[in-house]
């Protein structure tokens, strides 16, 4: 699986991508969707909500599991992916693209300094195996 090089990754298996200086997109990684199995339902936050780093912003449910998704950085929700609310399987088929979950206006990009780059995340995944 291709883990984009311009993404940053969290230990909870969220990815974060800068869109411009102050906004970014967030989703869950290929590894996360693979562990969950068939995703059946996604719960997303309200637009306009302000969340701190490590706050829960959503829930992803498969048949056998439900996981909370955590904010990799603090920010305000500016968009949610309504498509995955209707077609949750997109989270399985394209977690890094069409399956994005939210867009945020971030408070402070420096907060992302503890996130992993592609190489570090791949090494992290190897450790988990």
């Amino acid at each position: 699986m291709n883990y984009p090089a311009d993404f940053r990754y969290s230990k909870d298996h969220e990815w974060f991508k800068m869109i411009d200086d102050s906004t970014g997109a967030i989703g869950i990684t290929h590894y996360a969707q693979d562990q969950l199995g068939d995703v059946v339902f996604v719960e997303l936050p309200e637009i306009g909500k302000k969340l701190e780093k490590n706050d829960v912003f959503g829930v992803v449910e498969s048949v056998k599991a439900a996981v909370d998704c955590y904010m990799p950085l603090s920010g305000e929700i500016i968009a949610i992916n309504e498509l995955i609310e209707k077609q949750a399987d997109i989270l399985n088929s394209d977690p890094h693209g069409e399956g994005w979950m939210i867009k945020v206006r971030i408070d402070n990009p420096d907060e992302g300094s503890d996130l992993m780059d592609k190489a570090a995340y791949l090494a992290f995944l190897e450790e988990l195996e």
Partner: protein
């Protein structure tokens, strides 16, 4: 292997299975199959009846069928169930023991079935005596001082117990105890019940031997801990060998011991949970005391407590004065009511019948035999399946699918294939701390011939794992339906029939 009539075959077979649509699809306008008592009254003026704007004209969709339709419909449906009356049901942690038929008879006695819950106690002396005596028996079995029979199931028993723990600490002015410690092997109802009772939970990581790690426990204990919830034997089928030490440590820190009695079948007559330090214990009558499970209830979850917690028990309480029984609502420290009346009385009648049938010796023999049977399965299958914790177990043993994984076969496949052999699968993927768990609880009511047959089926499935794994992936093939698409059900929930319902089909 023994020579007997079960030795050469498995019960699983292809039989004639009758299809049956939904009851709504059988409906024919104008057809009826009911009989309602005669209207023996004169016609009444319309003015005495409620006015029309409160009324409905019709219940659209409700079936219109004959009595024969009803009988065939539900009889056919019933044949699609596997039940304890069909055969071996080794569902771990559920104690699927045989349900004696005399229990059905006693619960149906008109003096119980037609007894209104609000008659004055004078007219319910038999029912009250039964409840009082059942309470006494359960106190003796648990080694505790007082009891409520009100909770309707194990989870409601847990909630009752946790609410009492909260009330106990608060009554002592100890208001900062908001944390409950729960081992990672615990049943999911434990943390869920704590949340409803207003606690936060902390998970205790089990030690390498599957038991509570005393150092881990010590590090978590402080004066915010209200209680620990223990299952003993734990969900790995292992007796918590340090139960008494754990109790001392938690008590010293000011906390209480809540014991989940789901696995009491291994202990009754052998040891009293109260002597292991338990302050509170819930008992699942639909497990240990043979009342049936009804495809998911009704159960009953009495809660026994020590004297310090007695004032907090739910109201009303049965009280005895000389030889007369009554309800007592006057318990100012009680947590209140958990039920509109007194709980699942019918289930209590069955459990009472069972205890009187078994007697003290019978209950002990049940516990011993349950443990013997589980250990027999353990030693017979460990060459074929990896055992999670290889040591003497209590009433259940836990394997995993590591040996079979190499061939692409999982616990789910093994479980589904067991159905083809005519057995109900064990509990699977629980406890969560054993990857690919197969949790087998034979109970005492199974003969060794039946257990041998099950063991042979498990060995056969292991052989198939190596020779024809695809057969296992396809399993079950002899049931009315093959593997069901749970993803489709959850992504596109259809929870009722409607006249315009498009029956689901799998997207290609």
């Amino acid at each position: 292997m023994r020579t007997n009539k079960n030795a050469g075959f498995f019960p699983g077979a292809q039989g004639l299975i009758l299809e049956e649509p939904l009851i709504f699809e059988l409906s024919v306008p104008g057809r009826t199959g009911y009989s309602i008592p005669e209207d023996d009254l004169p016609d009444l003026p319309e003015s005495v009846m409620p006015s029309g704007n409160l009324m409905r004209d019709d219940i659209p969709g409700m079936p219109e069928v004959s009595e024969v339709d009803i009988v065939r419909h539900y009889t056919r449906l019933s044949t699609w169930n596997y039940s304890i009356d069909h055969g071996f049901y080794p569902l771990g942690s559920c104690t699927m023991k045989y349900n004696p038929k005399v229990n059905d008879r006693t619960v149906s006695l008109p003096g119980f079935a037609n007894l209104h819950p609000l008659v004055p106690p004078k007219h319910a002396q038999g029912a009250l005596r039964l409840m009082h005596e059942l309470g006494e028996y359960l106190k003796e079995i648990s080694g505790l001082d007082a009891i409520t029979l009100q909770p309707s199931a194990g989870a409601q028993g847990e909630l009752t117990g946790m609410l009492m723990i909260k009330a106990y600490h608060e009554s002592r002015g100890d208001r900062d105890r908001s944390i409950v410690l729960i081992p990672d092997s615990a049943h999911g109802t434990n943390p869920a019940s704590c949340t409803v009772a207003g606690f936060t939970t902390k998970t205790l990581t089990s030690g390498n031997d599957g038991c509570i790690d005393l150092e881990e426990l010590q590090s978590q204990l402080n004066d915010h801990v209200a209680a620990i919830m223990l299952t003993n034997p734990n969900t790995l089928g292992i007796f918590e060998k340090n139960a008494c030490r754990i109790a001392r440590m938690v008590h010293d820190a000011g906390g209480l011991i809540y014991m989940d009695g789901a696995n009491l079948n291994a202990l009754m007559g052998i040891v009293k949970p109260g002597q292991l330090g338990a302050d509170i214990l819930h008992i699942n009558l639909h497990k240990t005391f043979s009342t049936p499970h009804g495809g998911g209830g009704p159960g009953s979850g009495p809660v026994a407590v020590n004297a310090a917690l007695e004032p907090f028990l739910p109201i009303p309480r049965v009280i005895r004065t000389d030889d007369t029984f009554a309800w007592d609502y006057d318990k100012p420290m009680s947590i209140g009511q958990m039920h509109n009346f007194y709980g699942n009385f019918g289930v209590l009648v069955r459990a009472y019948t069972y205890i009187r049938s078994m007697g003290a010796a019978g209950l002990r023999e049940a516990a011993e035999t349950a443990v013997i049977n589980a250990n027999y399965i353990r030693v017979k299958l460990r060459e074929h399946y990896q055992i999670a914790y290889d040591r003497i177990c209590m009433h259940e043993c836990i394997f995993n699918d590591l040996n079979q994984q190499k061939f692409g076969v999982s616990t789910l496949d093994i479980a589904k294939r067991l159905m083809d052999y005519g057995f109900h699968p064990p509990t699977i993927y629980f406890p969560l701390i054993v990857k690919g768990a197969l949790m087998i609880e034979p109970t005492e009511t199974e003969s060794i011939e039946t257990i041998d047959q099950f063991i042979r089926a498990m060995i056969e499935i292991d052989r198939e794992t190596k020779s024809q794994p695809d057969l296992l992936h396809q399993a079950p093939i002899r049931t009315k339906r093959k593997r069901l698409d749970e993803t489709l059900a959850a992504r596109n929930p259809i929870l009722r029939w409607t006249p315009d319902l498009n029956f689901p089909s799998q997207p290609d």
